[in-house]
């Protein structure tokens, strides 16, 4: 339930259809259905969520070795490009237009050619589509953490296009599309089954975590992992990224109310206390286990807490948010150690932070959800609602995890067989930035810039140069 600010359960009993049929497109601002406050709120939140992707690029780039920092950031940057186009052309439509059997939308909104149509609580379709676009981008970019240092750039680009259509779009439909919101019929998970996932614990978090696992298995381990040291080369960049992610996550979570009101404010509150609790829990456990509270631990804890509160933030009170934050701070940290036991090189721990954190958040939502917080939600086990909700939450985790893993495994295999997914061993040894992008992130010594600069033939010479 993503827009229920007031009473009732609007996806079951829509007061009236929210779609305003516009036979002859007219300026949307004249539409009496439009709410300028909610529109401003959603547009602002969309911009906040956009910033999460460059933030993620910093978060990830700091954790890899210096010679692959640019490639790490480029995987996020090209995702902004690829997913931005796919989404506007047909991805948004497949996720959010009228549903076919609750499984997938259609092409009704393809190309976003009627952006002034008003949906939900008075927001133009274009604002809603842009808000959801930023979710699609950050979710795809998250996967890059699993394939650090070793994925060919164009193969990654093709993969992420396939993945967005094959994995993200259906999951977003199942969990984010509600009857009568942007299409007459919505998806099956949240809309029909009644799973509580406020901002994307399934479609974003569990999805990216399990997709990352499949991707890490297809690409294989980095050379030398786990024996060779692969320590983070720039932790201040990682901390900057964690800060930008937290900042952007306010748009992600509060914005998912899709209306400026009490539910959005509650989500904002939860998005503050959960990562706060996660940081403390993580650092205390880390000190006990490893001897020191580390900055990488703090940055990871922020993300773990934010991931955990994502499905819950619009349904739980302060107490629930604190418990979720504490749980994620402890459980995600222990989950990080799993990859060394099981032997998969999920390089930057997407599985442990997003997969495990998302699952913890979804399940705990089944315990801590309260209709006192959001009447459109449900009461969890601890608030007198019985065990039914946690069952639904568990189904959501299994469905999202299973679908994401299987389809991603297939798509990544396809890219591997047809294009080749992994760089040559010597490229990996010498550094992917140099080989894939002909750049290096840092200028360490004047010796590296001696040599000659040659203007490439594709660049026209200036008049001065051609005269001499």
């Amino acid at each position: 339930m993503r827009w229920g600010d007031h009473t009732g359960a609007p996806w079951r009993r829509p007061a009236r259809t929210r779609i305003v049929a516009v036979a002859h497109p007219c300026p949307g601002d004249d539409n009496p259905e439009m709410d300028s406050g909610n529109t401003a709120f959603v547009l602002g939140c969309a911009a906040l969520v956009m910033l999460m992707t460059p933030g993620l690029a910093f978060f990830y780039a700091g954790m890899v070795r210096a010679r692959s920092a640019l490639n790490m950031m480029m995987m996020s940057m090209v995702t902004l490009g690829v997913v931005g186009l796919i989404w506007v052309l047909f991805g948004f439509s497949l996720s959010f237009s009228d549903s076919h059997a609750g499984l997938i939308g259609g092409f009704g909104f393809a190309g976003l050619r009627a952006p002034e149509v008003v949906v939900g609580k008075g927001i133009p379709l274009a604002a809603f589509a842009m808000f959801e676009l930023m979710f699609a981008i950050i979710t795809a970019a998250l996967l890059s953490g699993a394939v650090a240092d070793r994925a060919r750039f164009w193969s990654w680009t093709v993969f992420i296009a396939l993945w967005t259509v094959g994995v993200y779009v259906p999951l977003a439909h199942w969990i984010f599309a509600f009857d009568g919101f942007s299409g007459a019929h919505g998806g099956w998970l949240a809309n029909r089954l009644g799973v509580l996932d406020f901002a994307g614990g399934t479609a974003v978090e569990v999805n990216s975590g399990m997709s990352a696992l499949a991707l890490a298995l297809i690409l294989g381990r980095r050379q030398g992992w786990p024996r060779e040291p692969m320590r983070p080369h720039n932790l201040p960049a990682t901390l900057l990224g964690a800060g930008l992610l937290w900042f952007g996550w306010y748009g992600f979570n509060a914005g998912s109310a899709l209306a400026a009101g009490a539910v959005a404010a509650n989500a904002f509150l939860a998005t503050t206390v959960a990562p706060a609790a996660a940081v403390l829990a993580w650092l205390i456990v880390e000190h006990r286990l490893d001897g020191r509270p580390t900055s990488l631990g703090a940055a990871s804890a922020v993300v773990a807490g934010l991931v955990g509160i994502t499905p819950a933030c619009g349904y739980v009170d302060t107490f629930g948010a604190i418990v979720i934050g504490l749980s994620c701070g402890v459980i995600c940290q222990l989950a990080i150690r799993l990859k060394y036991r099981l032997g998969y090189d999920d390089s930057l721990d997407v599985v442990a932070l997003h997969g495990v954190g998302g699952a913890v958040g979804l399940l705990l939502t089944g315990l801590f959800a309260a209709t006192a917080v959001n009447s459109a939600g449900a009461d969890g086990l601890f608030y007198g609602g019985g065990g039914g909700q946690i069952g639904k939450q568990a189904i959501a985790v299994l469905v999202a995890a299973g679908y994401a893993f299987v389809v991603t495994f297939g798509l990544a295999s396809l890219v591997r067989v047809t294009m080749g997914f992994r760089v040559a061993p010597e490229v990996e040894a010498e550094g992917i930035d140099e080989a894939e992008h002909a750049e290096s992130a840092y200028e360490f010594s004047p010796l590296t810039t001696t040599g000659r600069a040659t203007v490439l033939p594709s660049l026209p010479m200036t008049h001065e140069e051609s005269a001499t």
Partner: protein, 112 residues
Amino acid sequence: MMLVTAIVKPFTLGDIKAALEHLGVFGMTVSEVQGHGRQKGHTEVYRGVEYAVDFVPKVRVDIVVDEAQVNKTIDALIEAARTGKIGDGKIWVTPVETVVRVRTGERGLDAL
């Protein structure tokens, strides 16, 4: 002439420079190096993984001096670089055949 090479803790460089200037030694070459002696390295922990950092950052100071000044130079270096804890570094001395000042072509002690 002798080349005095000192590998020391980086933060002692300021004191070393002052001590050498006090002695009348004005030329020196300083480089950032990494290594270990008996101190070995240290360990760092990232997300629960312990990395042994075998080589720790040190500063290397190279000074060419007249043979008569070698002992005083070494004493000054020890005075400035010693903390009494493990990892204070090493000093060694090697003979130098000649020194040439590039600008003037002067050789030997005149070039110092």
